[in-house]
Amino acid sequence: MAQQRVIELPGFVGTLLAAVEQRFPGVQTDVERVKGADAYYYRIGLVSDLFSDIHLMARQELLWSIAEDVLDREQFLRISMFLALTPDELNGEEDPA
C-alpha cells in the first residue's frame, strides 16, 4: 500500500493531535499519510505511559471520541487509524510473522 511520511500535516490533523496531547500530556505522535481510493488518509501512532492503565480497546474508544469531538464529519473520516501503545509495548520483541 502506498505510504509516505507526512511532512506537512493538514490543519485538522494538528487540531486532533493537540486535543490528544491535552488528554495525554507528553504523548509521542507519529503520522503517516496513506493514499486511499478517493483521498489521502491519516494513520496516527501514539506512545505514552499514560496508556498503561487503559485497555487497548478502551484506548481506541477514548481516541475516537476525542476525534469526534474536535473534527467535523469529513475530517473524522480522513483519520483512518489510531495505534496507541505504551513505550514497553512499542519496544516489545518482534512478533513472528
Binding site: M1, A2, V34, G36, A37, D38, A39, Y41, R43, H55, L56, M57, Q60, E61, W64, S65, E68, R73, F76, L77, S80, M81, F82, L83, D95, P96
Partner: protein, 159 residues
Amino acid sequence: MSDIFAKSKLTPSQARTVADRRLDDAECLRKTGDNARANGVFYLGGLVVECLLKSILLERHPEVVSPLAAEHLAESGREIRTLIFRSHALDQMLDRLPDLTRQMKAEDERGGTRRLNKLRGICGTWSIFARYSPRTETMAHAADFLDDVREVKRWLNNA
C-alpha cells in the same frame, strides 16, 4: 490430512459463511467464562471481521480474483488482491472501503450508534500476532470485544 487445509477459491459467500462459523466458535469459548480461553475469543473475533471485510472487497472488486488477470491489474487492484489473499491487516482493508465507512458514519449519526468507532477500534487493535502472544487476556475484556464484533458484523452483513 483434513480437507479443511485444501486451498479453494475464496468467494464472498464463503467468506461470510466462515465469519458466521468463527463467531460461533468465539461464542463457545466466551461461554466457558474461563480467562484461559479469552485470547481465543479475541483471535476468532478478529477473524470474523477479517472475513467480512474480505467478502466486501471481493464483492466490490471481483476483477482482482483471477490469478490470470493479476499481472494486468492496476496498482490499486494489485494492492486489493494482496490484501485479500496475503494479508490480515484489517486497518488497510478498511482504508480501501471509504464508501463503507462513510455510509456507516451517516447511519451512526442517524441512529445514535457508534459502530464505526467500534469497527475502527477493532481494525486498529486486532492483529494475527495475538495467536503467538504468551500474555493472557481476561474474559471480561474478550466478551466486550466480542460484543463489538457482533454489532459491527450485523451491519457489515448488510453492507
